[in-house]
Symmetry: C2
Subunit: 342 residues, 2 copies
Amino acid sequence: MDMNKPCKSEIEYGNFADRLNKLIDEKKNPSVVGLDPAIENLPSSIIEKYKLSGKSDTSCRPLSDASDRPIENIFHAAAEAVFEFNKNIIDATCDIVPAVKLQIAYYEELGAEGITSFKETASYAKSKGIIVIGDVKRNDIGNTCKAYSNAYIGRPDIFGKKIPLFDLDAVTINSYLGHEGVAPFIDDCAQYGKGIFILVKTSNPGSEEFQGLTTEKGKNYFVMGQLVAEWGKALTGKSKYSSVGAVVGATYPEEAAILRQNMKETLFLVPGYGAQGGTADDIMECFNSDGLGALINSSRGIIFAYKKYKDEKNYSKYAREESLIMKDNISKALIKKGIYRW
Amino acid sequence: MDMNKPCKSEIEYGNFADRLNKLIDEKKNPSVVGLDPAIENLPSSIIEKYKLSGKSDTSCRPLSDASDRPIENIFHAAAEAVFEFNKNIIDATCDIVPAVKLQIAYYEELGAEGITSFKETASYAKSKGIIVIGDVKRNDIGNTCKAYSNAYIGRPDIFGKKIPLFDLDAVTINSYLGHEGVAPFIDDCAQYGKGIFILVKTSNPGSEEFQGLTTEKGKNYFVMGQLVAEWGKALTGKSKYSSVGAVVGATYPEEAAILRQNMKETLFLVPGYGAQGGTADDIMECFNSDGLGALINSSRGIIFAYKKYKDEKNYSKYAREESLIMKDNISKALIKKGIYRW
């Protein structure tokens, strides 16, 4: 294994679903590493490097000269720790996976400095030729929705200039509010070759209490799925998949099977694998018979795999190993199901 | 009118609903100014001051020496413009209204610098003794949800220290995901005297397509309302209202009446007044007979009132006037309904 070898793939700009499927085929792997760098779970080797010696929260210095920027406060120190961790995880896995997913909550809780770390992590992953999905679950209507879309996949208009900000490949959104909360994102998907994944059936046990209710049009998650499929029609690529995808939890295989049957052209972003209990067999219902259609995320199970081995220093090695195991488990489960794509 | 006079009220820390109701009574005004400072709508007097002369997007200088911090890039210049605008709007209205609501999308589209501007705006409003509500509509589960709550109303745990970050008084959240997306926020409400407003019936026309579907437990928005009332029981204050509130759009008076009848202890945060078409009569259904229970938001109608008068320079004067008109219109409508609280 050469972790320093560049693993940038040639990405054609174009339809998001096509770009993603091309990378999945190149890597022979439909899995995603979730970069959820909860500061309290970072390896002590990194924490010690950035932990502050000062007593003040607003003006302090790192124990070591870890960064070439001066450390301005404790949030800055934490944000630098997160970036170093992410960079090493990306280096260790970017030749294996087609994409990473950044859970923005763990960056937001570090304030403005955390947002800088989010932006730098996204840029770094893109420089390695992998797709970057922002797990932001944003939702609002009209101009406000447009502002969110500008930030993540579009171009904010600053003093009359349209300037890319985070410029991610795709984001997750929540459409409890209806089509006014989706349309601005779809416009940017069309204009800039981006994608969205709309929450349909989430992986938590409590998702049943609302998503599982039965309406005149079917269960709530099913209705949301049908809306997603409808909204996605205009953005179907050459690979026969749409850039408007759905979030469907690994922990609900029966529901996934129903959705899969009724949403043939929709990409499923599948959380809940690994740490949350979803197995490789559970997620098989999320795939179409062509072996595509599902993108399986694992966050803690990969990035904090070092905890199983009680070896904090070699966290990136264990992330790589765990990522290879996940790829292998999914491959085997697909073959068991009679799907031989790769 | 003395816009420089300090208008800080004495706020007791304690139950959020009690704190809010006390300020509503003091100001005799249940309305909120929405700080949605879309950069393209800021008055030209501010834009010209911060607009950049440089050709580069990453290293440029403002036309005037507007800030005591060096302007690092175009996003920074925009974020400073937003902060100056907000500060003047807060100065012009903080003796009239009990609260401001910050729509975070307009800060997020300015990147990390926008988040700094969000934080500074929140601190400034708090220093004037008014309640600060973050309209963030966050939603996730478990640890991720906890990270969001830490950021906005709780305390992120950085290297073992719990440090307040944005430390807002309340936030909006979306609970499509179920109770795992609410519990961490409720914990922080209890611990730090904060509040949440959960999306129930939103003000947009398209809210009907999902929120209006009928389930075995009633319409989706009604079911969500019942969950909110249930979750809120543990946080009812001395004023008989809970710190777990609901978002109910001004544009749906019939639905609001049904919700009001079934959610007596729930505070309604009501968007859609003014620019979106809701009138003072429309929102009357959101109040209880005690004259409390509703907090009416107007954003564009107040902060961009200068557009009606084509007088960009005196934007804060028009925001103040419009805020007084809104207060007066709500008062009159309450009296017409036979409610004489103040």
